[in-house]
């Protein structure tokens, strides 16, 4: 958050009513998430995708209006997006590794990877 800019302009966010509106939308979206989860005829993947899209929308609202990303230097948004990008890379490469272990090293057969063995010993 830019202290200098705040010192200069004093007021530096959305009007008060916006906070309440955003909060209302966040609650409605939470209810929608719960509602979608109750629909049993949807395949699990669709429910998961819907829940993640709604959560992302909620995260966007919190970041833009409560964390004031929409009202400050874009550099802070850049840092956040960069961290999400790196997280995406971590997920991508771990998935590729996890998904192809068996092809690369079939000798491990049932226990598909050393990582899995390690995780099982650590977690359960």
């Amino acid at each position: 958050m830019s202290h200098d800019a705040n010192a200069e302009h004093g007021h530096h966010g959305p009007p008060l009513s916006t906070y309440y509106t955003v909060f209302g939308i966040l609650i409605v979206l939470t209810m929608v998430t719960i509602g979608v989860g109750q629909i049993t005829f949807l395949p699990g993947g669709a429910t998961l995708a819907a829940a993640m899209i709604i959560s992302s929308a909620k995260a966007y609202l919190v970041c833009r209006y409560f964390m004031l990303l929409g009202y400050t230097d874009r550099f802070y948004t850049f840092i956040l997006i960069l961290s999400l990008f790196i997280l995406g890379l971590m997920f991508l490469f771990t998935s590729v590794d996890w998904g192809t272990r068996n092809e690369v090293n079939p000798g491990l057969s049932d226990a598909h990877s050393y990582l899995q063995i390690l995780l099982e010993r650590t977690l359960g």
């Binding site: 958050m1 906070y19 939470t30 959560s55 970041c63 999400l84 971590m90």
Partner: protein
Amino acid sequence: MWLFLATEVLFFGGLFVGFILLKGRYPEAFEAGHNELSVFYGGLNTVVLLASSLTVALAIQASDSNNKDRIIKLLWATMALAGVFLVIKTIEYTGKWNSCLLPGNLFGFPELDAAGAPAIKDGIIQYAAHCKEAIAGHQAASDMPAHSNVFFSLYFIMTGIHGLHVVIGMGLFLWVIKSAKAGRFGPNYKGSLENVGLYWHLVDLIWIFLFPTLYRVG
């Protein structure tokens, strides 16, 4: 502050990646695990945290108009909501404890062999007697699919670390309430208040994703 938040995103993100991959590995166990979590309590806690995000955002907004009393009141409201979150979390944890739905080798309180791993007799893990009964809406631990303990390991690690963030947040709120009482926040200075607020919003953001990840989806 945003750099710190980026490290937090990656810290929790790693746990999410692990969760997704292990869910792919043990879909039945994770499905059974999801069913044991109360959507009511999880949803209630989502609302509580969203409300606390609102109150802290309004506290920062109130410092623009130099309204000291309003800042203090809103910060205490945030503290109270954080407390409510922890109380609900405690209720949930107690239920899991009573039903033996616990992480790792604690799951079902099995007899352990010399190496500390669950002892297997006649091809099955010997769970404690009280973990073979379904109680309070939970399935008996002994009836859960294999590897259900992995789900509960991740559940307790992820919600536990998140809960620790809530406790730390409450400490930070006490600190900024003290500063607010000393009249330090106004249109010209609100640095520490803003940064504590950002930290708290992040705790909220993580829960926004934890809720559908752990509780909801099939």
